[in-house]
């Protein structure tokens, strides 16, 4: 239990640091907003997926072992993101603003950071799980819910370039990540 709390605390602090870096491009209150939302995103997604993960793993892992492994993967991802936060913060406060290239550069840097941390922790997770199917199922469920959670908690960087919204639920509750992605894809094909 103590170990689980320690991991959750690491995940919360490290992901808050990464969130602060995400918000650094717009600056001001956006740093605080993103720092609050990032732990909510990582740990909230984990909490929502816990039931499905426990049931899928029940035949091969005990509930405590499954939760410990899941929390370990989340805290490892958060720790890596937290470790990348200082250079990203510097990038955020020094990239030209307002400038389309600056905003895009920030998006690319953050995507690369998330991709790097995600790939490493997912590769480590494979060693912890007894079967590849369980590993794929965990990743699929966490990814599926995580995408919608990120959509619900947006804006992250702040495309209006102003720290004007913490959590615009009335806007975010219209549609969802998958509908938006589908719309974007069909829009590309039609053009």
């Amino acid at each position: 239990m103590r170990e689980a709390l320690r991991r959750a605390a690491i995940a919360a602090v490290a992901s808050a640091a990464f969130g602060a870096a995400v918000g650094s491009y717009v600056g001001g209150m956006q740093i605080v907003y993103a720092a609050i939302k990032m732990p909510l995103f990582l740990l909230g997604t984990g909490a929502l997926c816990a039931g499905a993960i426990l049931v899928l793993s029940a035949a091969t892992l005990s509930p405590s072992r499954a939760m410990e492994t899941a929390l370990k993967a989340i805290s490892m991802t958060a720790a890596m993101l937290g470790a990348l936060a200082p250079p990203l913060f510097l990038l955020g406060i020094s990239t030209p603003k307002p400038a389309p290239r600056g905003y895009l550069g920030m998006v690319v840097a953050l995507t690369l950071a998330v991709g790097l941390a995600g790939i490493i922790s997912v590769a480590r997770l494979r060693r912890e799980l007894p079967t590849p199917w369980l590993w794929i199922a965990w990743i699929a469920i966490y990814g599926f819910v995580g995408a919608q959670m990120a959509w619900l908690l947006k804006p992250w960087i702040g495309y209006t370039l102003a720290a004007d919204r913490f959590l615009p639920l009335s806007e975010n509750l219209h549609g969802n990540f998958y509908e938006a992605a589908w719309g974007a894809m069909t829009g590309l094909i039609r053009r």
Partner: protein, 244 residues
């Protein structure tokens, strides 16, 4: 040839490991313990079914478990239209899960008996209820995720797709458990308890009956009366109107 013999041996060794694990699992009684047993490995429950021990007790527990968990998932579906519709959906989903499984039970029993199996109707009923309990367990495991998408999404099209996806996963889990039960009972008895082809055919039948039952008790997500009484085939939903 050598490779195929080697592959066959690997499959046998893997199956022996599964059976050894199932042999070491204890029986469980009561809905909550049964839920845990179904998740970790239903060895004890399957041995009870094979020996006809406490079948009535197991059947009642599995029925209660299915009704409660499928009802909980139904309530999550119904939350899209809060109020009376939530209650209706909480009642309709157990009807679909239990109804389709129980409607197909006589088919499995009769065809299995014709094929030479010695399983009684009570044993078959317990196996079918164990399958429906496994389905409802998986449904309730995905309930927080379905709830999250339900409160954060407006589009009914996406939610329908999501719920169908969850039902497909749950049905796959339940049918896989049924296949495990078939193999384990064969291991215990030394004779074929349920024929593999019959089980495949029966699984297809359960899926079709489940789809038709869900269509018959519609609407589940959208507002409407508890039962419209409208007739129609579930295929009508799948085939566009201009192609019919």
């Amino acid at each position: 040839m050598v490779d195929s013999i080697g592959a066959g041996r690997v499959v046998r060794i893997a199956e022996d490991e599964v059976f050894t694990r199932l042999d070491n699992q204890e029986s469980a009684s009561g809905p909550v313990r049964l839920a845990g047993a179904l998740l970790r490995g239903p060895g004890g429950v399957l041995r009870d079914i094979s020996l006809s021990h406490g079948l009535l007790h197991h059947a009642a527990s599995l029925f209660a478990l299915t009704a409660a968990f499928a009802g909980a998932y139904g309530a999550v579906i119904g939350l899209h239209q809060p109020g009376l519709q939530t209650l209706y959906a909480a009642l309709k989903v157990p009807i679909v899960v239990l109804g389709s499984a129980l409607l197909c039970t006589p088919t499995l029993f009769v065809f299995n008996a014709v094929g030479g199996s010695r399983l009684t109707l009570s044993q078959i009923l317990c196996l079918v209820l164990a399958m429906s309990a496994a389905i409802s367990l998986m449904l309730v495991a995905f309930a927080p995720i379905a709830w999250f998408f339900g409160v954060s999404t407006n589009g009914i099209g996406f939610l329908t797709f999501l719920h169908v996806g969850v039902f497909v996963i749950a049905a796959g889990f339940g049918l896989r458990m049924m296949d495990l039960a078939r193999r384990y009972l064969r291991h215990l008895d030394g004779t074929e308890a349920i024929g593999p082809i019959l089980l495949l055919f029966w699984c297809g039948l359960v899926v079709v009956v489940g789809l038709q039952m869900a269509h018959y008790v519609r609407p589940i997500m959208t507002p409407g009366p508890f039962f419209t009484g409208e007739r129609g085939l579930f295929l009508e939903v799948l085939v566009p109107a201009h192609l019919r």
